[in-house]
Each structure stands twice: as C-alpha cells, then as structure tokens.
Symmetry: C2
Subunit: 343 residues, 2 copies
C-alpha cells in the first residue's frame, strides 16, 4: 500500500442499476515526490526537446519529454524501479515477478538486478527475440507460457506461490503509477507554464501518474490522454463513466493494447480532461515525422499523442504543450513506412 493513500468513494458498474460503491486509493503528489527520491540514481533525467519545424507546423510550442532515452528505452523503468525499491527487505528477499511481453518486463528485470534480487518474468511464447534477449541480459529468469492473458496470469500466480516473489503489475499498482508520474515532474520543471499535457493511454499507469502531478502543480493545465482508435477502451470508458474492457485491440501501437484497471480509471476520472483517439495511418505518419524532425527513435505507441496534433484531432494553436514520448523499442527491420518491411 501507499504511504499516504487518499481513499475516495468510487462507483463501479452500470450507474443506472444499484451501483457498487468501493474505495479505491488514489496516489497523490507526495507519492510521486517520494518516488522521485526513491529512484534517483537508478533512472535518468531524460531531456526535453523542442523543435522549430514541429512548432511551426502546429502553431504551438511543443515540449517533448524523451523517455526513449530512459534506461531500457522507455518510461517503464520509472514505475518498476519505484515498486521494486519500495518493497521491504523481507519482501524483496524473495524476489519479484511479473508477466509482460514488453517494456515492463525489462524494467522489472533491471530494477531487480539493481536491488540484487531475482526477477521472475513470464513472457508469452512468440515474444520478439530482442525483447527476450534484453530481459535475459538484464538477468531476468524467463518462463515462457501460451500467448493468452489467462496463461500469463496463471504462470505468474504459480511462480508467486512457489517462490513468494512480490508481483509487480505493469500498471495496477500505486507505486508503479507514482513512478511514472516522475516524468511529469521533470517535464514541468524543464518546460514551465504548460497549458496542456498529452500522454498515451494503454493500461493507464502513465496517465494516472502524469495527471496527478500536473493537476497538483498546475491545476489549470489540461491533461488529455490519447489512444489508438483500434484500442479505444479508455475513450469509451471515459464517456460511459465506467470501465469497458478492451476486447479485440487492433493497432500497431503494441504498448497500448491493455485494458484499464479500476484503479487507473479512477485516476483518469479524477485528473484527465479528455481522451482523444487517432487512426493507424496517423500513428505511422507521426512516428515518421518524429524520427525525421527530432532524430529520436520512437515506437508506435510513443507517437500516438503527437499523432493527435499532427492530424488535427486536438487543437493546440497558441498553446504550450508537453508531450510524453514514452519509448523507443522498435524492430528496426519492420519500420511501417518502408516498403518490403515485414509488418
């Protein structure tokens, strides 16, 4: 649990018919500041880049927080490191476990190695070879499982039962959310007086931390989450007022194919002003524009917020806009704009 959870009453389910009221703890600015202190020295303060050409095109001043330059190539290092280092020595001694085919797996493996404890990582068969190699290089103990959510959860549960390892969920964990929020603290320091902050929404861990930090320090700034139209559970949940799980995600943005948790949805309801969606061609175009203009390798998921600007989905004219570029782990043989590349 968090050091200072802020319980609120929160309604889950169809709010027309006998709502169930449960209490979901929300993270606070203090949790994010504690995270920052906890992970200092283990994660990078990434640069914030500006670009004349992109500003001109948008009619705005854009500040890109460059998490591809973070350790393991993604912001996920922040949350995982905070969660791993928040464990007591007794908890930590039995190691940590997670299931992930993506950046969270590498982030947990790296954080565990830094703390000197084992990391049990469940990864689906068919995971990209570079992702497996990265987790292995970082010392993670990989268990392969069938590529279904149920198989992943079962394998992780078995490992937790056998080893007593602490399970580190990729987003449904207050320490993970608070860790991700540290990116927004740094962004607001390097880019003061922001009018608007954009971040992608997958499971919602990043936007939970970011919106908490922004609304605490700059209450009048708007926070907009962006997701692929082909994985628009956050937009639909936001409109409906309750979590609608993602059924069949269909997007190149592989980092954004997760469903919201009740916890992240509660943070979105508290701190996010709107959720926008973007098309697949807009994501690919934005990815290419960012590579060309910023010279930063961004993965499709990381291009999603800028896609909303470039495609005109969000009107940013005259504004100072902070954008979290989330990660840069992409298969360089499969660039979506290159003819002949496997897709």
């Amino acid at each position: 649990m968090m050091a200072s959870p802020l319980p609120i009453s929160y309604t889950v389910g169809d709010d027309c018919v006998s709502p169930t009221v449960v209490s979901i703890p929300l993270i606070s600015l203090a949790d994010i500041e504690a995270a920052r202190e906890r992970i200092a020295g283990h994660v990078r303060r990434t640069p914030v880049l500006t670009n004349e050409r992109l500003d001109e095109a948008a009619g705005a001043t854009l500040f890109f927080k460059c998490e591809p330059l973070q350790h393991i190539g993604a912001f996920k290092a922040r949350g995982a490191t905070n969660a791993v280092f928040a464990l007591s020595d007794a908890e930590a001694s039995r190691g940590v476990a997670t299931h992930s085919s993506g950046n969270h797996a590498a982030a947990v493996a790296r954080a565990a190695a830094l703390r000197g404890i084992p990391a049990y990582i469940v990864m689906p068969e068919g995971s990209a070879a570079p992702k497996l190699a990265q987790v292995e290089r970082l010392g993670g103990r990989i268990t392969l499982c069938a590529p279904t959510q149920a198989a992943r959860e079962a394998a992780a549960a078995r490992i937790v039962a056998e080893t007593g390892a602490a399970f580190i969920h990729p987003y449904d964990n207050p320490y993970v959310m608070a860790g991700q929020g540290t990116a927004a603290l740094e962004l607001m320091e390097d880019a003061p007086d922001l009018d608007l902050v954009l971040a992608p929404i997958g499971g919602g861990g990043l936007i939970s931390g970011v919106s908490t930090a922004v609304k605490a320090l700059r209450p009048h700034a708007r926070v907009i989450g962006v997701e692929p139209a082909g994985a628009d559970d956050a937009a639909r949940s936001f409109a409906a007022g309750h979590v609608i799980p993602l059924e069949r995600p269909d997007t190149i943005a592989d980092g954004l194919r997760a469903s919201l948790a009740a916890s992240t949805f509660a943070h979105i309801q508290r701190g996010v002003d709107a959720v926008a969606t973007v098309s697949e061609p807009a994501i690919v175009q934005a990815m290419r524009t960012l590579w060309e203009a910023l010279k930063i390798v961004v993965e499709p998921s990381a291009a999603v917020p800028y896609a909303a600007i470039e495609s005109g989905e969000i009107d940013v004219r005259g504004l100072r806009v902070g954008i979290v570029l989330t990660g840069g782990n992409v298969d360089l043989d499969r660039l979506p704009w290159v003819q002949g590349a496997r897709l």
Copy 2:
C-alpha cells in the same frame, strides 16, 4: 581572420623537393570560447548519453555527444552560426553564400535567417529533395548547378561577385572550426576526465576544433579521428605528412566525402594522435547498433567513430571515451539494413 590567430610555420607540398613554407593560422582555445559565447542562444547544448549495454560490449565507459539533437540535426549549426555572427554588420549586410549538398547548407541558411541577412546556397542538381526543402524552409536562396566540384565553386564565385556576399566555407574557415570545437567544450564538461575523444574526419573542420579544445583542456587525453576506408585521405595524409586529396570517395558516409584543406590538416597534425579507418559493413552495423541502443537517429557519417570501437579497430578497454555523434539527417526510406530499401 581570427581574433587571436597563432601563426606557425608549416610545410606544404612534397617535403623532399624544395618545400614551400607558408604560415597557416591555427585556432586556439580562446577562439572556441569566443565562439561559444557568440553562438549561445542560437544553438543547443545537446545531451551527452551513456548506455549500459554499449559500455558492457566495449569494456569501457562511453559518452556520446548527441549532435543529431542539434538544430538542423547536425553539429554544423555550430560552426556556421559562429562564422555568420562573426561578420561585421557591413560584411553581413550583403548576405552570406556557400555551396553544399548537405548539413552545412542548412546550417548557413538558418544562421543567416537568425541574423536577418540573405543566404545564397549553391546546391548540386540531384540533391536529395528533403535537403532542398529544408534549406528552402529556412529561407535559403537556392541556386542549382551541375553536380561537380568545379561547377559548385564557379556558381558560388559568381554569386559572391554579384552580391558581395561573404563566402562561408564548410570547413576551411577558422570561425567554422572554432564553432565546431564548442561541442568538445560541452562534452568535456558533461563527461570529465576523458582518456580519449573520437570524432569523424571529412573535411576536417570538426576534428580541428575538437582536438584544439581537448589538447588545451586535457593535454593527456588522446584524440583519434576516424574515417571510412573508402574515403581515407586523412589517414593517408597523416601518414605521409602532407595533404593527399581524396580522389574517388566510395562510402555510404556522405558527410565524409570531402578532402582536407591545408588549414584543417595543420590542425590535425598539431592535435590528433592517430587516424583510424573503418569498413562499410562496420559503419552500417554501428549505425544500427546506435539506433537500437541509444534510440538516436544517426546518419552513416555519425556512426563512423563508434564503428571503430565496435569492430575492434580501436582498443578502448578500461577507458573513458568521448564520442561526437555528428548528425542524424538520413533518408528514412533508404535504411541500409532494410531489405527492399533503395540504396
């Protein structure tokens, strides 16, 4: 001329037969410090990145100075800005001119726009469309010419005669060399106690500035220039003790296809400890490794120094090594490792 040129006696030509002795002014640390002050606010202080995976592979501590994140995507912004702003108001009022198909063209156009003066840019027919578009977007007045060195020089000379514009050579200019050297000042501040600094050699402007700064501030650090084996005029000149022009460059590193000038060679003789060469496959492999590990888009020329490390050409084990990543302007449709990409 420089504020404080340091004339030395320097021998040009075949030193066995009646050498001609001329005086070539060498730049000093003071020139680079003056450049830094002159261009402050117009160029970026780019980040220096480190990477655990690359350190492990090299058995060294590597510090990458990331000039792809510089304005116009390359270190060339430094030297061109210094040269343009060093002009007197009277000189500047007639504008500036250069010939270049690459990053120097954009750098001069941008610097002239910042100073509010015209930039006449001679570019060879057949220049890449994005390069032309970039110079145009920056307000450069483009004159196309036949794609030969003679045609470029003739066209530029005609423009200079007609307009009275000041000619800004891409490297045979002390202000340009001093401007490029500012990258090394920043690198040494962010990465103290370097044992070795690596930079690519094309025309030699960058290595002239870098070696001047390094030898002044850290005399015991070694400076090694690296160039493609297919454009090895610096290595051959260095060994021979006099400038041997590049005849038929054959390399993917399009930024390194220029011949040394007498001026840059004099700086190389003064401050460079060795010149290494790397193969084309090593350049492509290094480029890919850097994209994958650092998440920075580097052009082939920028990958050349790291190629010398990755291929084992230079032994860096146990050393603290500074590496100037020079630029990131690359055609994203023509990545050399992607099957089906046009080469």
